[in-house]
Amino acid sequence: MAASDVKLNKKYKIQTSIGDRIFDICNYTFMILLMIVTLYPFINVLAVSLNDAQDSLKGGIYLLPRVWSLDNYQYIFKEATIFHATLISILRTVIGTVLTVLCSAMVAFSISRQDFVLRKFVTVAFILTMYFNGGLIPTFLLMRDMNLVGSFWVYIWPGLIGVFNLIIIRSFIENLPESILESGKIDGAGDFRTFFSIVLPLTTPVLATVALFSGVSQWNSWFDVFLYNSSHIDLSTLQYELQKILQNSNTTAGTSGMDGMISGANGAQQNTVTPLSVRATMTIVASVPIIMVYPFLQKYFVKGMMVGGVKG
């Protein structure tokens, strides 16, 4: 590079540094605003959930509780329905996630083997379902005919393998060095052995991503509870209980003071909790497990999304 170029470059840098700085200031301000807009609603709900229920009705709670109290949480977990719903939520998340990860990995492994005779057929059969589905009512009728309505397994079977998960695991396996799989074969490992001893341990990053996606969707789902098991209270989940509370407050929206207790609450508790505080507390309980987990898996799911989004 000629000396004059360097000089020019330096001069230019000094010239733009003001514009650069203004841009940076605006950019950082914008990012901070974005974080506030994202986080404030959560912090506000958290504050309401930790505040005394009667005091919350006066309004004016923003970032911190005014009258600290854990009564709302105590009330929620004493309530048998909600406690049971939390157990069902945990159960479906654990069982659903384990089965999804294992089954998706097996199918992905088999369709990643270039020499597998059914490879094309299985792949196309799965991929096609990305583009159409029977729809709500036919699926509902099928579940009813298979006696899955009113059973726990209706939460597990229909969503066992997602095509998106399949694609990201397959791409990951295909990107493993061929020599590793070959070396297993030379040592006499069959396909099962290769899968369990070589592929599964090597694919943990992508399996973690799939586990996160699947766990989140299991934990978050309420519609299948509503659709199939709304009359089976023993199979209700946390999200569905929250949805019911939400629906109740929807119908009373507009009337300023939400009097009447939420359905199912004890009359004796009337003085300690209010629909407002119960809803806030349920919202926190329903979202905290996920908020605690996803940041730790960030580097995995970002990679997974890259593969899934760009390669499809």
Partner: protein, 324 residues
């Protein structure tokens, strides 16, 4: 299991090379481990994803649950004709398309802009914090999100308090946002953006990392400022990803989502919040009018399929990577 696997590999090499159908079965036998790992799930797939399509026949019947399949009365396209003469369905269709379009245009623009801005942040730690925070709403359920949105928008929520504080609204005249039908699309759009803007930047940021740094250096030497670098290097660099995603999303034009509309909708804003999925749910489950409901759902699926197919071919013709 393991004995099987060992047998597979220790099988003696075949003397004659089998051909055609025989070769297929010989290979199938050799690869029985793979078969065991995939065929049960193929059966699962057919049962749970393909069999329900049989239910579409109900759309062409005057369906009576008590009767068997062969005893149903076939009435052709009657239900479809009814749908397109039904004011409610046409309104529902309008809502679906409008909300999809809002999602598509604004969801896209905001995510690209945020990705561009994030890309300009040089403090890695700060960037990471912003990203982590921005992914948060994506992971919570729509139930939780709806609960939060409802609280925020309620007459004593923070939005109204800010409006009062700035003097846009008089105290006592707070706005019940979810009770005004015309506001619903805006609320829906804003909520969707709030929930997914951070998540949607992942793909763009990934595409940006593939841009050759030498290009920026060259531009710097030519005296390009930051805005110029953004518009002439970064944006063209992610062009192909943007096009693919845009096309994909056009394919999902009739899928405007279900949960936000259902959870934020109420009796007051129903004229603007009800979309095809809610229509299907209300007719099908609440009123047990299976035929009409399936006809509406089938219309949605078929149109989506055609859109996706066309979109995919357009992408292929444009030389961009495609879906399948």
């Amino acid at each position: 299991m393991e004995t099987n696997a060992i047998e597979t590999t220790s099988m003696p090499p075949l003397k004659e090379k089998p051909k055609g159908i025989k070769l297929f079965f010989v290979k199938l036998l050799q690869q029985r481990a793979l078969v065991i790992m995939s065929v049960p799930f193929l059966i699962w797939l057919i049962l749970f994803k393909y069999v329900p399509i049989w239910g579409w026949t109900i759309a062409f019947q005057d369906y009576k649950p008590a009767l068997g399949f062969w005893d149903q009365k076939w009435i052709g396209f009657h239900h479809f004709e009814f749908l397109f003469g039904d004011d409610r369905f046409l309104r529902v269709l309008r809502n679906t398309l409008a909300m999809s379009a809002i999602n598509l245009v604004f969801g896209f623009l905001t995510a690209i802009i945020l990705a561009l801005l994030l890309n300009e942040i040089r403090k890695v730690a700060f960037k990471r914090v912003v990203q982590t925070v921005s992914y948060l709403p994506h992971f919570i359920s729509w139930v939780v999100a709806a609960s939060i949105i409802q609280t925020t928008l309620s007459p004593d929520g923070i939005i109204n308090e800010l409006l009062v504080w700035f003097g846009f609204v008089n105290e006592g005249n707070e706005i019940l946002f979810l009770g005004i039908p015309e506001y619903f699309w805006t609320i829906f759009g804003a909520s969707s953006i709030w929930k997914d803007i951070g998540w949607n930047t992942i793909v763009y940021l990934a595409a940006m990392t593939t841009i050759d740094p030498a290009q920026y250096e060259a531009a710097e030497i030519d005296g390009a400022n930051r805005l110029q670098k953004m518009t002439f290097i970064t944006l063209p660099g992610i062009k192909s990803v943007v096009i693919v995603l845009l096309i994909m999303n056009i394919g999902y034009l009739l899928e405007s989502g279900f949960e936000p509309q259902y959870l934020l909708g109420n009796g007051m804003n129903v004229d603007y919040s009800e979309n095809i999925d809610i229509f299907v749910l209300k007719y099908g489950i609440a009123q047990s009018n299976f035929s009409l409901s399936i006809a509406a759902g089938m219309f949605k699926t078929v149109v989506s399929f055609i859109l996706l197919f066309v979109a995919n071919n357009v992408a292929k013709r444009m030389g961009e990577s495609r879906l399948f």
